[in-house]
């Protein structure tokens, strides 16, 4: 069963320049695992060193935030669309890390 994962513009360079990828999966977790095993360079932008979804990365099934569904266990069907949307956050200088 293939679900469509929409790739946001900044991450397309790590996903063969595709704007969406069809993945066989029954849950959101399986879809993201499938996506990052196909495109390994995506992994560090979605997951932290412990392999958990980064706190500022939001995943939606259709228009529902999976945080309020069953998180990575949220079931998906073949007509569903998974969107990856960053929480855009930031704040004032504590220590400059510019190059």
């Amino acid at each position: 069963m293939a679900v469509k994962v929409v790739i946001p513009t900044p991450l397309r360079q790590f996903a063969g320049k595709k704007d969406s990828v069809d993945i066989d999966a029954k849950t959101v977790g399986e879809a993201l695992a499938g996506l990052t095993s196909q495109f390994g360079d995506l992994r560090k932008h979605l997951f932290n060193e412990e392999g958990k979804l980064r706190s500022f990365v939001n995943v939606y099934v259709n228009d529902e935030d999976i945080r309020f569904l069953q998180k990575d266990q949220t079931p998906v069907n073949d007509s569903d669309v998974i969107s990856i949307v960053p929480s855009i956050a930031g704040g004032s200088l504590i220590r400059c890390i510019c190059s």
């Binding site: 946001p8 513009t9 900044p10 991450l11 360079q13 560090k44 932008h45 706190s55 500022f56 939001n58 939606y60 228009d63 935030d65 945080r67 969107s83 949307v85 960053p86 929480s87 855009i88 956050a89 930031g90 704040g91 004032s92 200088l93 504590i94 220590r95 400059c96 890390i97 510019c98 190059s99």
Partner: protein, 156 residues
Amino acid sequence: MSINFSPEQFESVRAHGARDYPNECCGILLGRADGEIKEVSEVVPLRNLRHDPGRAQELLPLEDPGRESEKNRFLIDPEDQLRVEKDSRQRGLDVLGYYHSHPDHPARPSNYDREHAWPWYSYVILSVERGEPREATSWVLSKDRLSFEHEELKLL
């Protein structure tokens, strides 16, 4: 690498920074990208969700809410983000990046900025000192996520 604004668009970023002082302002930059050059065609000012600490904390918890607030942190509501993205896609525009202000701090990215960034996007930072907009700079995250690279910000 450069991000190009018209004087009017750039002024709307500056005015937003002054208006929301002493809090951080934030917004989305829409337009078209051609290789290393981004042309801004619209500036979309948004609400800093840190103004609503309960909901913001639910979406992206702060480590130290006692010291971190809308004065030194911003958060764009992902629902605003999703809405603006869908709307811009329908109009053939891309989200090129984001802007935010640093009230009474230099226009330099913080470690917190880096931890919450993605590559490719432009992160424009406006310093606002005692209510007056000052320097603005633009930054792009390196592909290894370890540093920000300076990007030229041009007024055309």
